[in-house]
């Protein structure tokens, strides 16, 4: 009973978010009266027109790039973050280097990345990984640091090895924060991808938007923007569902 109520409640909040979004858009377009901001209905019509004509392909390519970057970023940053977080000496040495590298504008390194990895998919993925790596690393490191020593000692007293401390305590204990890192990096990855796809490619939502823009076809450009927004929306919902499965204790 309570569950179905919550489900209805969630449906209501999500659908009202969509309604409010489109209402605000409509209002702004009416106020602005400028072709650069079409009203939502023509944009939606354009979205459904171009979706079967190739927008879906750009959508899939972008989604593939975002997910590959996210998985690669997680695979590199999570183990390192967990390890640094539980190793004070290493943290002392590595943290200054992390703080030095984190603010470096990686987008400015794009020519270097192109030079090393060519201009294909890989260079776009590498650019996103370079950016989200530090976000995931810092969040994971702090989560590992914050696990109380008493929790670890009580499991050590049961005879756990250091590997078992990771598998039973540190990894599951950091999972909620790792999911936070995933949500933050997902947003970052999508925005960076938009930029990375704006040149040296003929695929992806970024390309689609810039190409429509160059033709001054604003409704089509907004069809691309709706697609990016939809991509983020769907991916965020998927991350939330995944968290429900992997971290059931958070939802009891």
């Amino acid at each position: 009973m309570k569950n179905s109520y919550l489900k209805n409640d969630k449906f209501l909040t999500y659908s009202s978010a969509i309604v409010i979004f489109f209402l605000a858009w409509e209002l702004l377009a009416l106020l602005l009266q400028n072709p650069a901001l079409p009203r939502p209905i023509p944009a939606l019509v354009s979205f459904f027109n171009v979706l079967p004509e190739g927008l879906w392909k750009h959508f899939l390519v972008s989604t593939y790039r975002v997910l590959t970057s996210l998985l690669l970023g997680l695979a590199l940053a999570v183990p390192l973050g967990l390890y640094i977080g539980r190793n004070a000496k290493l943290d002392k040495w590595l943290s200054p280097q992390i703080y030095l590298l984190y603010p470096v504008p990686k987008i400015a390194l794009l020519p270097v990345i192109f030079a090393i990895f060519n201009i294909g998919d890989l260079s776009k993925v590498i650019l996103i990984v370079l950016i989200i790596f530090f976000q995931i690393l810092i969040i994971t490191r702090d989560a590992a640091k914050n696990i109380p020593d008493s929790t670890i000692l009580s499991v050590l007293s049961l005879g756990a090895t250091s590997r078992e401390i990771y598998s039973h305590v540190i990894i599951p204990g950091c999972l909620p924060e790792i999911f936070t890192a995933v949500r933050i990096s997902l947003g970052t990855a999508i925005s960076v991808l938009f930029f990375a796809e704006s040149f040296a490619t003929f695929e992806g939502l970024g390309y689609f938007i810039f190409e429509a823009w160059s033709r001054i076809n604003y409704p089509e450009m907004f069809a691309g923007i709706i697609a990016i927004s939809l991509q983020g929306f769907v991916l965020f919902i998927l991350v939330n569902l995944l968290q429900r499965v992997i971290c059931p204790w958070l939802f009891k």
Partner: protein
């Protein structure tokens, strides 16, 4: 069975060395229960960690069954103030953790836990997570985890301090019955005079900064039927209180 010989512990707090324990001599005999009581900051928690083999003293030695203690031993179980339960594991998984780490076959774990859960009246909570439990239930899960390992010696660091008065008395009785039934040797660190007198056959009084033993009070009537309601219980409480007062004043 557990001998502490001239145990001292000094740790560095920034650049300043702090002596937490000084010259502790204790002889823990099999089947007996000891209550350690003293003001905050008297090194009681460090003492428990040293006894559990989780921390090495900076001076002196700890012998378990005549052999130098260097790491957590199988026969020792530890219960900490915050229960040491993992919020991401269910009650069953938390209680089974010690057995899982010891690679006990699943079928055997099931048999052991079913017995222990029945004894501690936890059968109804097996699928719940710690945050769904009351303080008393959490404490019983911590006890179940310890008991499932058939410990020779049970070390407890203020295990009941977070409980309300009635639950606390009830849990004292639960612990008392378990110790008696399973013939477990026990060292209990507590703030409560009544708890020390109710559960300790010997009451060891500590002073603070650095923590050292200033009195050992025998409590031969402990374990008598309805001890809590007897005059001898209240007299012993008065004696312990007087001893604590005398030694804290002499410290000042």
């Amino acid at each position: 069975m557990l001998d502490l010989k001239n145990v001292s512990l000094t740790y560095s707090n920034g650049s300043k060395p702090v002596q937490a324990l000084r010259g502790i001599d204790m002889k823990i005999e099999k089947g007996r229960s000891y209550a350690v009581i003293g003001p905050s900051g008297c090194g009681k928690t460090s003492l428990i960690y040293i006894m559990a083999g989780l921390m090495a003293p900076t001076q002196g030695e700890v012998l378990l069954h005549g052999e130098k203690l260097v790491k957590p031993e199988r026969g020792t179980a530890l219960i900490l103030q915050e229960y040491g339960l993992l919020s991401w594991k269910t009650v069953w998984e938390n209680a089974a953790l010690g057995l899982v780490l010891r690679k006990v076959p699943e079928r055997e774990i099931k048999e052991i836990l079913e017995r222990v859960f029945e004894e501690l009246a936890l059968t109804e909570c097996i699928d719940r997570y710690p945050k769904q439990l009351s303080g008393g239930q959490k404490q019983r899960v911590a006890l179940a985890r310890a008991l499932s390992l058939h410990p020779d010696i049970l070390l407890m660091d203020e295990p009941l301090s977070a409980l309300d008065a009635l639950t606390r008395e009830y849990m004292q009785k639960v612990i008392f019955n378990l110790l008696k039934r399973h013939q477990i040797t026990c060292v209990l660190v507590t703030h409560s005079i009544e708890e020390a007198v109710y559960l300790g056959q010997e009451i060891i009084i500590f002073t603070a900064c650095p923590g050292k033993i200033c009195a050992k009070i025998a409590n031969p009537a402990q374990g008598a039927e309805d001890y809590r309601d007897q005059l001898s219980f209240h007299e012993k409480c008065t004696e312990v209180r007087a001893s604590l007062e005398v030694h804290s004043q002499s410290e000042e």
